[in-house]
């Protein structure tokens, strides 16, 4: 057998092994009838999954979830997530594994609205209630609530903030989006374009994605600055996009010339806001997402209260208002001073 032929066999075997492993994952647990069980008095285990681990945003969600669990009795939060937002299949498997491991409830953010809909449904079929945070599914079952930011409204406001900052006259602006095809990205991109429509003096000259990678955000921003030397403003639609964009602007020596409206509030974003590299940040309330998701799940499991969707709100943070009490609670959320309405 020639070496080339042998390596083909290796690949074939590998493929067979992968198929086997996948089919083992989709084995469905016998859900014991699949009907809602009554109120649970004993200890509760609630699984909470972000879109991906590794970003400040999701760690704040985690803090909120753990805060809500800590305020209740006998509740543990199991935190697990895929490594990249693009690993949609990995998240499908993760949700299935949660069901298999017998958690009492699942609170998660869908990496893809359509692809995760069956995963939510099969959890419900197995008798495990689900609450969505940040990003829901399509279709979203009526008994599954969504605790999320109104991304569209926030992005419309980002366009307004940019228009206010740039003032009169014609201006060229660019959009750094993150994950084309994801629900959240679509809403922010559409919201921003919608917001721009109200300002005839702003022209969107470039729109490129960062794939939530700071290095890629820096690269596309550098190229956008090169292609559009007259660029006046950038809206960067998530944390990695913002961090890459301000690096690019700084290395091009255009800090202050290009007005940046960012999204979220990672420590380096807040530092850049203080340093004048960012004009304003649209800050979501991830703490509240984790908090509300877990809190309503606990009430649902303990008392049978139906869960109801809620807008977790955004705060517009500028260098001027960042010292205020209310903004501080959002920027530095902690369980001692949670940015939630209790």
């Amino acid at each position: 057998m020639s070496p080339r032929f042998r390596s083909r066999w290796t690949i074939a075997l590998l493929a067979a092994a992968a198929t086997f492993a996948l089919s083992a994952c989709v084995e469905v647990r016998d859900g014991g009838g699949g009907e809602e069980t009554g109120p649970v008095d004993g200890p509760l285990e609630i699984a909470v999954a972000p879109k991906a681990v590794g970003h400040e945003f999701w760690n704040t969600v985690k803090a909120g979830a753990e805060c809500a669990a800590g305020l209740a009795e006998d509740v543990t939060v199991t935190w697990d997530g895929v490594a990249a937002e693009t690993d949609i299949e990995g998240q499908v498997n993760l949700i299935q594994n949660f069901v298999t491991s017998g958690v009492d409830g699942i609170v998660y953010a869908a990496t893809d609205s359509a692809a995760l809909a069956p995963a939510t449904q099969s959890a419900l079929d197995a008798g495990v209630p689900v609450a969505m945070i940040d990003s829901g599914t399509d279709p979203q079952p009526s008994e599954v609530p969504l605790y999320a930011t109104d991304n569209r409204a926030g992005a419309v406001e980002a366009a307004n903030l940019l228009a206010d900052a740039l003032g009169e006259g014609d201006h060229e602006v660019a959009l750094i989006e993150f994950q084309p095809g994801s629900q959240t990205n679509t809403e922010r991109a559409e919201g921003f374009t919608e917001g721009l429509a109200a300002h005839a003096n702003l022209e969107l000259v470039a729109q490129q994605p960062s794939h939530s990678d700071v290095n890629e955000a820096r690269r596309v921003t550098e190229d956008i600055l090169t292609a559009n030397p007259e660029l006046d403003g950038i809206f960067a639609a998530n944390e990695p996009s913002v961090l890459g964009a301000i690096q690019a602007i700084e290395s091009a020596g255009k800090t202050g010339e290009v007005t940046v409206i960012g999204w979220d509030a990672a420590p380096d974003e807040v530092a850049a806001l203080e340093a004048g590299q960012i004009h304003a940040l649209v800050v979501q309330n991830p703490f509240n997402m984790g908090f509300l998701g877990v809190q309503s799940m606990i009430e649902h499991l303990r008392e049978g209260t139906p869960m109801a969707s809620a807008d977790t709100g955004v705060t517009f943070v500028t260098a001027e208002n960042m010292a205020s009490e209310e903004v501080r609670a959002v920027l530095e959320p902690s369980c001692d001073n949670p940015p939630v309405d209790q």
Partner: protein, 334 residues
């Protein structure tokens, strides 16, 4: 085996070796021609393309991927493949950021830490391939997964932020007006290019890739040398990782997912063969710049990201198909 027999073995392979070198040069030439055509087209299509700033930008943007593609090329020449480059680069980058943040060391010390971390990952790959005799695909697949896990463990799955300005020197600094990252890339490419084409070690690398068994019989210490290739490749990937981290002044746990595909694409476009024994650093650099130019040009011309990916895919197909075609013709001629 006597020295005479060994020489005879080497002589026997000489003809094949020469024709392989010719075929690599041909695909390199094709890729270079494509690069020139694209360069001229972009100069005409966009008034902003042919500016010093943009060219330096392209150079800096390509630096990391070029260094990692050089590492990948060494491994591919040995008939191996390194799927772990993305995880290794991320691990090296976050470790460098962590030692700067927590121990306050200089950017140079951090770079050494990153290179050591990369070399360690390479050593694991090398031992798995040469001693445990795992296929490179499997060995590095394991390292890719374990490495990414380690990145999340050491960072707690949070980016490493709040680094001093000085950490940016590697990725954003300049030497005599030329971005530092470009200078480092050039030095790395020259050194590895020299090593592969001029040194005895380089000859052995090609020999192992062409026929491992023959190389072993010819008296080459294949275990040690194969391991050395992976360690060296890992060290370069570590260097790439710290430059990437420095460019964004932070350690990013999600950095480099999918990087292995870019690195393999650059090597293959430049004429490296996944069947081993072929590939040159010059070709790989051309491949890396070709991919970078497509991306840069697409943004300058406002072409959507989706088309960029299609274009890169088409280039890979075209490069390898043309390469195969030339090779068959050369073989037919004998």
């Amino acid at each position: 085996m006597t020295a005479l027999e060994r020489d005879a073995g080497v002589q026997g392979r000489l003809g094949a070796w020469v024709s392989e070198r010719v075929s690599v040069a041909v695909s390199e030439f094709t890729a270079a021609a494509a690069l020139v055509v694209l360069f001229v087209a972009l100069s005409l299509a966009s008034p902003n393309f042919l500016t010093a700033d943009n060219l330096f930008n392209i150079g800096s943007q390509t630096a990391v991927i070029a260094i990692i593609a050089v590492a990948q090329t060494m491994v591919i020449i040995t008939k191996g493949i390194d799927l772990s480059v993305g995880s290794t680069a991320a691990l090296a980058g976050v470790m460098a950021a962590i030692v700067v943040r927590d121990l306050g060391v200089s950017v140079w010390t951090a770079a050494l830490v990153a290179i050591a971390v990369g070399a360690a990952c390479g050593l694991v790959n090398g031992l798995l391939v040469s001693v445990v005799r795992l296929p490179p695909f499997i060995a590095t697949l394991g390292t890719m997964s374990a490495g990414r896990g380690l990145v999340f463990i050491v960072t707690g799955a949070v980016g490493v932020y709040s680094l001093p300005e000085s950490f940016q020197l590697l990725g954003n600094g300049q030497i005599g007006g030329v971005p530092f990252a470009i200078v480092v890339t050039a030095l790395v490419a020259l050194a590895v290019g020299y090593l592969l084409s001029q040194s005895r070690f380089g000859q052995h690398v090609y020999a192992m890739g062409s026929n491992l068994e023959a190389a072993r019989r010819a008296g080459i210490a294949v275990r040690r040398k194969l391991t050395a290739v992976y360690v060296l490749a890992g060290a370069l990937v570590g260097l790439g990782g710290v430059i990437a981290a420095s460019r964004v002044n932070s350690g990013q746990p999600n950095y480099g997912i999918g990087l292995e595909l870019d690195a393999i694409a650059a090597a293959v476009i430049g004429g490296a063969s996944l069947f081993g024994g072929q590939g040159r650093i010059a070709g790989t650099l051309i491949g890396a710049f070709l991919i970078a130019l497509v991306r840069n040009g697409s943004v300058l011309l406002g072409i959507s990201i989706h088309y960029q990916q299609v274009i890169v895919g088409l280039i890979i197909w075209a490069a390898v198909a043309f390469d195969q075609f030339r090779r068959r013709r050369l073989e037919a001629r004998g």
